[in-house]
């Protein structure tokens, strides 16, 4: 982290911000400020270069055509890959998650190369679209409580040996490949299908991103009353729906 404070970069709000993805940015910002950190938020539009000196990069969900445009522009730009080389953290959701992999199926039905930052490949599912509340257990090495989120995707994501599943679903589809996995992570790069937005439903993940950035094991507590109430309600809803 630079002396000027925490740099939070929101990648391509003009293309990848369809499902309230700004919420993830707002939650990270808010929880960092509550811990006394100075936060600089950088919104990068798709005709601007991605800065390489950010601390946390958030990449959101989007519709099929904007997803292809975003992948094309991010590949050409190269900034996100350099940021990871610099040790930055990337947290990606849905369409953004697919872009970070090796390839996905674009709106024209063709295989579109991704950024190769996660060892995953996404294909188009033949069945019904995965829509609804999800409940999952996060990879135990991350020491996080249960994951609650809302999924809404047609694509399925297969994990390669270079990543670990971010979570294992109890209710819902997650990666959708039938192996019970949800999302993927490796080093400082994370991907998930969860909307909600996921950091509003799971503020402990936002705190994990902050802890990794600050290289600390703990953060001062904040008032999580409403987050906890919402979590309890959504976990119960996902359980009942199943």
């Amino acid at each position: 982290m630079s002396t000027s404070g925490l740099r939070v970069v929101w990648v391509y709000p003009d293309l990848l911000s369809t499902y309230g993805d700004q919420g993830n940015v707002l939650v990270v910002e808010r929880r960092a400020r509550q811990r006394g950190l100075t936060v600089e938020r950088v919104d990068v539009r798709s005709d601007q270069p991605v800065p390489t000196s950010g601390d946390i990069y958030l990449v959101g969900g989007g519709e099929d055509r904007p997803q292809r445009l975003a992948a094309e522009r991010l590949r050409r730009d190269g900034g996100l890959q350099r940021a990871v080389d610099n040790g930055a953290i990337i947290f990606s959701v849905c369409a953004g998650y697919q872009i970070l992999g090796h390839e996905f199926i674009n709106d024209l039905g063709q295989r579109e190369p991704g950024l190769g930052l996660l060892d995953v490949i996404s294909v188009r599912g033949g069945g019904e679209r995965c829509v609804g509340d999800v409940l999952a257990d996060v990879d135990e090495t991350l020491r996080l409580p249960q994951l609650t989120g809302f999924e809404n995707h047609q694509g399925l994501t297969q994990l390669g040996p270079g990543v670990r599943p971010f979570a294992r679903v109890q209710f819902g589809n997650g990666n959708g490949t039938g192996d019970g996995t949800e999302g993927a992570w490796a080093g400082t790069v994370f991907g998930t299908y969860m909307h909600g937005p996921v950091l509003a439903r799971n503020p402990q993940i936002a705190d994990l991103l902050l802890k990794l950035t600050l290289d600390v094991n703990a953060l001062p507590p904040v008032d999580d009353r409403w987050y906890e109430a919402l979590r309890a309600e959504r976990i119960a809803a996902a359980t009942q729906a199943a």
Binding site: L26, R45, G132, F150, H195, A229
Partner: protein, 413 residues
Amino acid sequence: MADSAQPLSARARLAVTAGKAAAAVSRAAGRGSGSVIGGRVALKVDPDLLARLAGHLDVVLVSATNGKTTTTRLIAEALRAGGEVVSNALGANMPAGITSALSAGSEARFGVIEVDEKYLAGVARDVSPKAIALLNLSRDQLDRAAETRMLAERWREGLQGSKATIIANADDPLVVWAASSSPNVIWAAVGQEWKDDAWSCPSCGGVLHRPDDVSWQCGECGFGRPAPSWVLSGDSVLDPHGTPWPIQLQLPGRANKANAATAAAVAAAFGIHPQVALQRMQAVAAVAGRYDVVSHQGRDIRLLLAKNPAGWLETFSLIDPPPTPVILSVNARSADGTDTSWLWDVDYGRLAGHPIAVIGDRRLDLAVRLEVAGVDFRVCQTLEEAIAQLPPGRIEAIANYTAFQDLRRTVGN
């Protein structure tokens, strides 16, 4: 037009009768107006009924993400200056509801029809409208609706070669994209506060540039804002000659001025003078409960509907300033869309300074949203509790679709 000016066939008359009977049964059973079930039964008996009913009318279709019910009402008021109007005034805007509404008006000259955005192309094919008003397109119910740009694409394909006069909002790039394939478009610049569904060019995918508050253009292919004939300018609408006509409404807010400006342009296409049209629109005080001020538990409450981020944005700009108390109510039932992520596209920070109470099925989603926005709020179980908690003054109650219906039921509206 199908069977224009011909009396309805025996089959069509039977269909209308069967539909009315089904609606009456539904009403008697306490299941609402019965217009949708009635329309379904009628269309079963005669699948071409919608085309036949519309064949007798000069029809205008109204579609949009937001403002279609209100604009339909304003156009209906304006056209009554020229003859009897039949309209689906209660917002039943899919083919069955539309059929049912048209069955009621055999003597009418004009049909003013609100159409769900997903059904516009089909209804436009069936009823051969004289005019189509397109107001705006933005994200709404993402868990079940088509992607916003795909809707624009479907409009574009459906309207290609349409004989109708299209009255379209020049300030919404998605609407311009949808309308610009039609041979006969009248552009009305009525504004669109929400811009976050149109940063990429609907035509080529390039980034749209917005050098000022008004203009927009694609940096790559040059697709841009067309020169408008009608312009909303403050409290007036300028007609194609540049003559300003004052808009005086009982309905509040900028968005309703935009709706009225569009309605004036539509009325002009039917030969109704803007002054006459706008004067008639002044009579509208509330539309299907929206903007109604009701009295409940000794307090005045204004009922405001906001279904999606664009709608909330327009609603925030019309509520009374702080310290006016505000109730927010959000549900996520199937008619609302079951994903609440959209709450994070709404800038709730704009409510700072208002005493706020949140209710509805998804009040906890609202609570986290407001907590992160850094504004104070109270979470309440019921409307009654919310009213009791809020300081004196007229309450602005903003709710999404089914939450709004719940509110109306609770206050007996």
